[in-house]
Every structure is written in C-alpha cells, then in structure tokens.
Amino acid sequence: MSKTVTILFVLFNIVYFFIDYVLVTVLPNPLLFGWLPLQLGLLLFFPVIAAIVWGLYFNAFFNTQKHVK
C-alpha cells in the first residue's frame, strides 16, 4: 500500500466521523422528498459511502497479503 493512499484513507475517515458525530448535529434539517430530514438522511445513508471506501481500501490491502494462507 502506498503511503499516499493510506494517508488519504485516514483523512477520509477523520472527515467522515467528524461529519457523522459532530457536524450532523448543527446542520440545517430540511425535508428531502417530503419525508426524509437531511440529518436523518446523512446518518442513515452516509455509511454506504464509507462502506464503499473501506471495501476498496481493504481490498487493495488484502491483495498485499497473498502470502497469508
């Protein structure tokens, strides 16, 4: 794994958890699609983006672990 990729991964997680734990509590809360408040939408569906990023990163990481049987 290159150092740049690892640093970007760490930065993504810092930003992601900051938004999910802290920023979401002070964001405006308009209704999306007539029923979904923005804060709830972020809490519910932002983790899908995290899952994609984590999946990509760890897929690359475990490609470096082929020697581990």
Binding site: V24, T25, G34, W35, P37, L40, L44, F46, P47, W54
Partner: protein, 517 residues
C-alpha cells in the same frame, strides 16, 4: 382458536427447533474444545458476517433503539457510530486473527494474558468480563419475557416466558457450541431482516395509505413529535457530546465485547476480513434503517407524543396495531436479536471460565495435563451455572432495558479496549500500564455511573476510557516490556503483514498441544 394460543404454540415450536439444532452436534462438539469454542476456526465469510452483526444487534436494537429514538430523537442512531464497528473489526480483528493463528488464542483473555505476560491480569479480566456478561444476557431475556407477555395478552406469564427463554438459550449452546451459535445467528439475521421489512410495509400501508412516510411526517408536524426527526432531539440529549458518548458505548467499543472479540479468532481465512470491510457496514445499514424508521417516523405518527411506556412501542405496534401474524413474527424477530446476543455472550463466558480459569490455572500452571473433552464438560457445567444465575436475575426484573444494559455491562467491557489496542499497535505498552489503566478505568466507570454525575456532558464511559488510556500510556512509559514480548507480538506480526513473512505452523502445533492437555 384464539390468536394468543396460536402464538404460544408457535413459540413452543420455535423453542424446540432451537434446542434440537444445538443438540444435533452434541456428540461431535464433545470431542474437542477447539470445535466447541471456535467451530474449528472455520466460519465462512457469510456466516461470520451474520453471526458478528446480529450478535451486536441485541434485543436492545429491536426494542431499545426505537424506544430510544422515540424518546430522544434520531441522534440515538449514533449508537451505531457510523458503523465504526466494521472498521474496528477489520483493523483490529485481522491482527488478532493472525495472533490467534500463530499462538492458538481463543478468547480475549488468552490474548491479554499473554501480551501483558501476567496470569493475575488474565484472571482479573476474565473474572470481571464473566461477571458483567450476566446482566447483559439477562437484559435480552427480560426483553423477550416482556414481549411474550404483551404479545400473548398475558396468557404466558412473565416468569414462565423468561424461564423458557433462559433454558432454551442455554441448552442450545450446551448442545452445539460456537458452530451451532453461528449457524443459528445466520438464520436469525435473515429472520430479523425479513420481519423488520414486513412490519414496516404493513404499518405504512395500513396507516399511511395516501402518502406513506410523507403522510406520516406530515402527521408528526401536526401532533408535536416532529422534534424527534432532528438533533439534538426533543430533550436536547444528542448534541455532539451526546453523539460521541453514545457512539463510544454502542459502537466503538463493541469490538472488545467478549463475544465479538472471540469472532476475530474464528474466521476461516483472511478473505473474511476483506469481505467484512464492506459487507458489515452495509448489513448494519440494512438492518438498522428499518429500526430507525419505526422509532423515528412510524411510532410517533401512529402513537402520538408522550406515549407512556416507550420501552414497549414495538410490542404495542405489532400487537395492537397489526394482525396476530405480524405480532408473531415480530416476536420471533425479538427472539432472533435477543437469543443471538445471549447465546454468543454465554458461550464467551463459558470459554473464559473453562479455558482461561479452569484449564490455565488448574492444569497448565501446575504442569498437569487435562484432556480436551474435560474442558468441554467444564464449559457446559459453567453454562448450566450461568443459566441458573441468569434465571434469578431475570426473575427480579430490574429497571429499564436501555439503562440496565448501557449503565452496567457495556462500559465495563469497554475497559479492555485501550489494553487491546495499545497491545496490538504500541510496543511500549507494558503489564504495569495495562493493569493500572484497566483497574482505574473500571473504578472511574463505577464512580461516575452510580455516585457522581459525569462532568462536562460526557458519559461515564468517555471519562473512564480517557483515564484508562492516559494511565496506560504514562505507566508504560515508566516501565519496560520484555524483549521476547515485543518480538512475539510486534516484530513477528509486522513481518507477516508488511514484509511478506509466512504464518508458521505454530498454530497447529499449539492447538494440538492445548487439545492434548
């Protein structure tokens, strides 16, 4: 026939199925402690995903989370911590899995005792983990007992319900060990998800036929419950401090809950961790989204504000606002969530009592030999004993579900988090540091939970972990770690991960040695 009778019969059939499933493999699991406690380290990725996820989703998730959201708003969802448990499971779990393969670890105590080269520390950790597993298991059974009473309209009394629940869960583990628990968890995961979707679809189509969720939210704007859909919520609980405190309690520390910790050792290969990195957060989203929608939208819109017994909103919605079939499958869903957590925790308590206390202190330290069958027998005896203790506790039926679990068990399990993380990633972490940190963390958690209000709006757990971590670091900096520990737990594992060194066959040799004892 009355619906309550049909539901009671359904519960009976389900209970018999669980016990039968456990005892199917009684004979084969009696042969080896490795098979009983770790399913021969052979769980495939899908089963590991289901058993890990649903073991975290307890009865608290199905009953407590909608009730918590109804009371304090959507911020309660921070108890999933942005699905951080998945990230932790891969980052921490892969190293623990390598250690398990290299040195034959089975339980959290195996690892902590060896990494911190202290039998006393191992004994202390196993004692307090076992001690605090019991209330958490009891909470699952209390929730099941309450729900059975509500769903059967009082036809099955509380005491009978919790007694049957406790005995069924215990017999299931006694019969089949980790293998049975994991496969039953997989069944429960599918059952739980299916039930949640059915419940939501029914309630939405029945009560909001003209606009679905939009209609429900409109009703919330009129009936004064709209604050539930925002942070910090109607009572101001979930500002950023509340969110972090809740995430720490419900998510960040889950990787060191004994039953989740043990699951890092039972993966069949590294591929499990590769797939867990994306599948685990997605499974959380899939299961938790319906739970949140029940607590945040459907319950407030249907029940209105100020519902007297918020702990029972799911039971009330499924029994009084839905037909008996929905009530029955909702009850099964609660069983799925409650039983999966209870059986996993009880198995981990049994593993620690038999492997870390009985085998290690009665045999290994005295240079005696014991056979693997004896360890399994002892583990099963411990399960029987825990079953009796749990029965007594659930009969006393303490306070509110959420408070009970969160205040007692979770903060105490979390006190091994710093020792686990620093033990994996910091060479300087020493025995003295780990002992000082863990003991002081426990003391702070006790004091701030029961005697003094935690300062500055953070929870007792946050302060306990801060003190625990600080003392671990400071004391470790003043003490020394033996070179062989650094070589075994850091140089060796780093060489496997970063330099392409292969796992040795120490695993097989170690496991064989343990099994032959």
């Amino acid at each position: 026939m009355k619906p309550a009778i049909l539901i009671s019969l359904g519960i009976l059939v389900y209970a018999i199925f669980i016990v039968w499933h456990g005892f199917r493999s009684f004979k084969s699991t009696s042969e080896s402690s490795e098979k009983f406690f770790t399913a021969d380290r052979g769980l495939n990725p899908f089963v590991l995903l289901c058993t890990t996820s649903i073991s975290v989703f307890s009865a608290l998730a199905f009953y407590g989370a909608p009730s918590g959201i109804y009371k304090d708003g959507i911020g309660f969802y921070s108890n999933t911590g942005g699905m951080v448990a998945a990230l932790m499971f891969v980052v921490v779990g892969y190293r623990l899995w390598l250690l398990g393969r290299e040195y034959g670890f089975t339980t959290p105590v195996d690892y902590l005792r060896s990494r911190y080269y202290s039998d006393g520390y191992g004994l202390f950790v196993s004692a307090f983990l076992i001690l605090f597993i019991v209330p958490y298991v009891a909470m699952q059974l209390v929730a099941i007992g309450d729900a059975v009473v509500v769903t059967t309209d009082g036809m099955v009394p509380y005491v009978i319900a919790v007694a049957v629940g406790t005995i069924v869960v215990s017999l299931h583990i006694i019969g089949g060990g980790m293998g049975s628990v994991a496969w039953m968890d997989t069944f429960h995961m599918c059952l739980g998800f299916g039930t949640l979707i059915t419940l939501i679809v029914y309630l939405t189509m029945r009560y909001f036929p003209n606009g679905g969720f939009a209609e429900a939210v409109q009703i919330m704007q009129q009936n004064g419950t709209f604050d539930i859909l925002s942070c910090p919520g109607p009572n101001g609980t979930f500002n950023w401090k509340g969110m972090i405190s809740n995430a720490l309690t419900g998510a960040i520390a889950t990787v060191v809950w004994p039953h989740i910790f043990m699951r890092t050792f039972v993966a069949s290969s590294k591929e499990n961790f590769r797939q867990m990195s994306w599948a685990m957060p997605l499974s959380y989203v899939l299961v938790y989204s319906p739970i949140v929608i029940i607590g945040a939208i459907l319950a407030p819109a249907i029940l209105g504000p100020g519902f007297e017994k918020p702990d029972n909103i799911v039971a009330i919605l499924s029994t009084q606002y839905a037909p008996p079939f929905i009530a029955f499958i909702s009850l099964l869903c609660l069983f799925a969530f409650g039983v999966s957590t209870a059986d996993s925790l009880l198995l981990s308590a049994s593993a620690m009592a038999s492997r870390d206390i009985y085998l290690h202190h009665v045999y290994e330290l005295k240079g005696k030999t014991s056979d693997s069958k004896q360890v399994v027998k002892f583990g099963r005896l411990v399960l029987l004993l825990l079953m009796i203790i749990t029965l007594v506790i659930v009969a006393l039926k303490p306070a509110s579900i959420t408070d009970y679990a969160y205040k007692l068990s979770s903060p105490f399990f979390a006190q091994i988090l710093p020792a686990t993380l620093f033990g994996l990633f910091w060479k300087r972490a020493s025995k003295e540091g780990a002992i000082t940190g863990t003991v002081s963390g426990l003391l702070v958690a006790i004091v701030l939970t029961f005697f003094v209000k935690p300062p500055f709006g953070f929870s007792a757990l946050v302060w306990a972990l801060v003190v625990n971590t600080l003392l671990l670091v400071v004391v470790s900096l003043c003490t020394k770690v033996p070179e062989e520990i650094t070589a075994k737990y850091h140089t060796r594992i780093d060489s496997i991960i970063y330099s392409g060194a292969e796992l040795t066959s120490l695993t097989d040799a170690t496991l064989q040695a343990v099994n032959q004892k």
